[in-house]
């Protein structure tokens, strides 16, 4: 059984937002595989090897989960809670994605042990900042780049 510990999981229902994030990382030469899941339910299925992913022959231990706070169905906070209550994945850093700096949502995320948050649209420099703060910047597979980055 293979373990993929270089994967970044993106749980985001808005395809445009997902595209923007994926492209921002790609543009800045992040080579880690990004798995995009468009609902909280699917996200949890993937992380906990259940549902569609029950027969997967891989154990999913991503290096990072990017989790949108507002999701239809199972809400982002709910997903966060489930991750942190599941012993096998509780130590994976979860960074919340939010459209506003509304304190109540951010405080709620921290109360449920989110590692950090980023306000959308994601700027690559914000992303790098968070990675550095979480001490996982080194796990990013950033190729030496030519040309400019997103500031």
């Amino acid at each position: 059984m293979k373990t993929d510990n270089m994967v970044i999981v993106l749980i985001e229902d808005n395809p445009d937002h997902a595209e923007l994030i994926v492209e921002a990382l790609a543009e800045n030469h992040v080579k880690n595989e990004i798995v995009w899941l468009d609902s909280g339910e699917k996200g949890l299925d993937f992380l906990l090897n259940r549902g569609d992913y029950a027969t997967d022959n891989r154990t999913h231990r991503p290096m990072l989960v990017l989790l949108d706070i507002k999701l239809p169905g199972i809400d982002g906070i709910e997903v966060l809670k489930t991750i942190k209550e599941s012993p096998e994945i509780t130590d994976i850093p979860v960074v919340m994605l939010t459209t506003s700096r509304e304190e109540s949502e951010i405080l709620k995320s921290y109360a449920h042990h989110a590692s950090s948050y980023i306000v959308k649209p994601i700027k690559f420099c914000d992303f790098v900042e968070v990675m550095k703060n979480l001490n996982i910047y080194w796990t990013l597979a950033v190729l030496p780049h030519r040309g400019r980055t997103d500031e």
Binding site: N14, L20, T99, K120
Partner: protein
Amino acid sequence: MPRNDEAGQSSRRSTLLGAILNQLPVGVYVMMNGEQIFFNQTFCQLVGYTRKEIQERGLLDLLKMTPHGENFARDIFNQIHAGKLNEFLWDNPLCRPDGSEVILRCLIRMVDLEGQDAIMIILRDITKRRKAENEALIQSERFTLICENSSDFIYVHDDQQKISYISPAIEKITGYKPEEWQQQTSTALCPGSRLENAKKATDLALETGEKQPPYLVDFIGRDGRYGVMEINETPYKRGDRVAGLMGVARDITDRLEAEEKLKRMYKEIEIHNSKLQRANREMEAFIYTVSHDLKAPIVTLQGMTERLIRKVHDDLDEKSQHYLERIKVNIERLEELVLDLLELSRIGRIEDAKEKFDAVVVLKEALEESGEATKSAEMKVVHPECLGQVWFSPKRLRQVFTNLITNAAKYCATDRLASLTITSERDDNFLNVSFTDNGRGIDPKFHKKIFEAFQRPGSRKDDEGSGIGLTIVKRIVEYNGGSIWVESREGEGSVFTVSLPMEKLHRKIVDERQEKESK
């Protein structure tokens, strides 16, 4: 010597009689053939003349002093002499020579004196009695006047459970005359369950002699009108025995109706109020949801536009570059607007923690926060070292102050050195913090409008922002129990004053103050 004895006895008897007559409490005067025969000491005292004066002037001369006069008296005497009158009783007011006034009851009658007709006058002083009678009459007249003219009807109830008096006002109230009312049975006049209790209260008052609390009875008037009376009964005693009671009945039908109407109105207002509150809450929730949902497409627009600009900017002609630039600026404005809307809906929804602190602490933070705006306006800001303690949410107050400072910078004067002076003044339980600028000023006709959402009176094209900054400020201040107003004239600068509670306030004070201000 029996004869001598007899003479002596007779003389003694007459002396004794004279002494007794002089001791009598009534005046006695006897006259025969126009000549004075006898008058006693009391007579002299009553008429106020000495014995000598009476003897010299005679009775008729003295009668000149009375209102009826001499002729009236002479006429009476003649009539009695002629046997036309047996006796005559006559109350006679008299003014004595010393000026005192008396009322004398004068009884004139014919008496037989040793076979001859004599006139005897008996005088009795009735001044005191007459005075007492007069007073009693006045009292009773007054009482009648009160009873007959009161708009309440008054009645007297004796202990035999019979009504002995009803004042005429009953006709105005019920349409029945007092005697008609008495002929009806109480169940016909006063239907309804209240009558039982009314009877109990009356019985209790008569039994104990103690006043009972007022009670209500229903009644049907002569015209079929239904009404309610309020009855107040006061028992009275004769000696130790309860002799009856006096009742006052007031028609309170209109009052009850008015009260009922008022209650209904209150209820309606309450229902209306809660509907409004609900609508308001729904509106706020709606604004919140809409603005929150608007954020997602804005994020997409922002991200995609930025990527587009980065990708193709250099390959585009100038016009297309300009279009892209304007799209970007407008998305930013859109975002600002949505953020402000979110903020506005948040004020009523989220309770912020309040504390006590000197407003200057927050003012300094706000000045730092708006440093860029004041710097680019080259605005000189002056404020004292202390402003005073306030009871407020520090976070919200910073928002208020920042808004007022950036507004002052935004609308500052361009033809002179821009300045902003911040001062404070205590007003009862409130601290009034004033922001005085020398900027463009605001026409008084817009003073109310600038606090309404999306109003930028006299706005110029270079105005940025959503136009709800002051709306947010007003909401924050009012939500925290304070108030805000502006004094300004176009071209002469503005003074924005925020009135902030200094202590945790009782809700009532805040409501009264805001009500006063809204007038």
